[in-house]
């Protein structure tokens, strides 16, 4: 089928799904597990946190993620400086035994917008240490180019603020970023519902990363399925080549042979 040989390739690694999902905010690990299954995702991002020494109750997150099926993408969620992010990335590598990192350096705790300076600095350090760096950034073409120049394996501009569910706010910027970038472009954050993911893919981006839109839905498993379909639909439409827009009317039935003729 059409999507078959249309793989997403990041740092030489190939994925048949263009949807990347998170592991936060689920009512239970069981629901998360079923949502991951429904999403068809192959790459799953996880946070790095101190082991809770007082309460060791709930089992490890990894008991609910089949690492044979899903590749783990440790993230530096919650880091506000390049140093913190670098330390967190290094620890994540030890836990997951993987060089991949979803790099986040947050610049504002209210909007969770990235701090692009810190992000760039941390990217340089981690790339030198052999990491495959996927930075979460603003939808700024200049910053994306600098991240690419610094060795980022992909750039992940936000579509709208984390958890806002507003959908892609600046279609023009995302399109420009995709047009100029030499690495995969993944829209990270802002998707609220299926059509938002389709819109992003139709712009030509290489993938979409989301967490809240699925985990926060009334039925996360059904939404995960819808997102899987929407990402494939948007990608398919992008490749199929949509019709041109016109202000009005183009017949889709022949004009001759009418009774009235």
């Amino acid at each position: 089928m059409a999507m078959g040989n249309d793989a997403l390739v990041i740092a030489g690694k190939s994925f048949s799904s263009r949807l990347i999902v998170g592991t936060g905010k689920y009512a239970s690990n069981e629901i998360m597990q079923r949502a991951h299954d429904a999403s068809g995702a192959e790459l799953v991002t996880v946070a790095v946190r101190r082991v809770n020494l007082s309460d060791r109750g709930r089992g490890s997150l990894l008991d609910f993620i089949d690492t044979g099926r899903y590749s783990l993408l440790p993230n530096t969620a919650g880091c506000y400086t390049a140093d913190e992010a670098v330390r967190t990335a290094r620890l994540g590598r030890e836990v997951g035994l993987s060089e991949w990192v979803k790099l986040e350096v947050i610049g504002d705790e209210r909007t969770l917008f990235p701090d692009n300076d810190g992000l760039l600095e941390a990217t340089r350090v981690l790339v030198k240490e052999g990491f495959v760096v996927l930075p979460y950034t603003n939808d700024d073409p200049v910053v994306c180019r600098k991240l690419e120049d610094a060795g980022a394996a992909a750039v992940m501009p936000l579509g709208a603020p984390i958890g806002s569910g507003l959908g892609i706010q600046n279609l023009n910027n995302i399109r420009i970023i995709r047009e100029f970038a030499g690495v995969p472009v993944i829209v990270d954050a802002g998707v609220g519902t299926a059509s938002d993911a389709a819109v992003a893919m139709e712009l030509g981006v290489d993938g979409v990363l989301m967490n809240t839109a699925i985990a926060g839905a009334r039925d996360p498993v059904a939404m995960a399925d819808a997102m899987k379909l929407a990402v494939a639909a948007g990608r398919g439409a992008h490749l199929a080549g949509r019709i041109a827009r016109r202000r009005y009317a183009a017949a889709s039935s022949p004009a001759d042979g009418l009774l009235s003729a």
């Binding site: 999902v21 998170g22 592991t23 936060g24 905010k25 689920y26 690990n29 998360m32 991002t45 996880v46 946070a47 790095v48 946190r49 101190r50 082991v51 020494l53 060791r56 490890s60 997150l61 990894l62 783990l72 440790p74 993230n75 530096t76 969620a77 919650g78 880091c79 506000y80 330390r87 290094r90 620890l91 994540g92 590598r93 030890e94 836990v95 997951g96 986040e104 947050i106 705790e109 209210r110 969770l112 979460y136 984390i162 958890g163 990270d188 954050a189 990363l209 989301m210 967490n211 809240t212 985990a215």
Partner: protein, 71 residues
């Protein structure tokens, strides 16, 4: 003797390797990463790395998280 473990003071008693510390804490070493005085310790070095008085140790693992968390 005390160390700082995951940000809090912790009474260690005597110097010990990271392996012993993890065992005492009942933590599976294959599921965590350890930072000793701001340096990450490879898993292979857990048995040969000793924690001493006033050291700082961080033990982390993976938890659910998609995009950055508000402090």
């Amino acid at each position: 003797m005390r160390i700082t473990l995951n940000g809090d003071p912790y009474e260690l008693g005597e110097p010990m390797t990271i392996s012993r510390l993890l065992a005492r804490l009942d933590i599976d070493p294959r599921r965590v990463a350890v930072e000793h005085n701001l340096v990450v310790v490879k898993r292979a070095a857990f048995a040969s790395t000793t924690v001493r008085a006033d050291d700082t140790v961080e033990i982390v693992n993976f938890v659910g998280g998609g995009q950055e968390s508000a402090p």
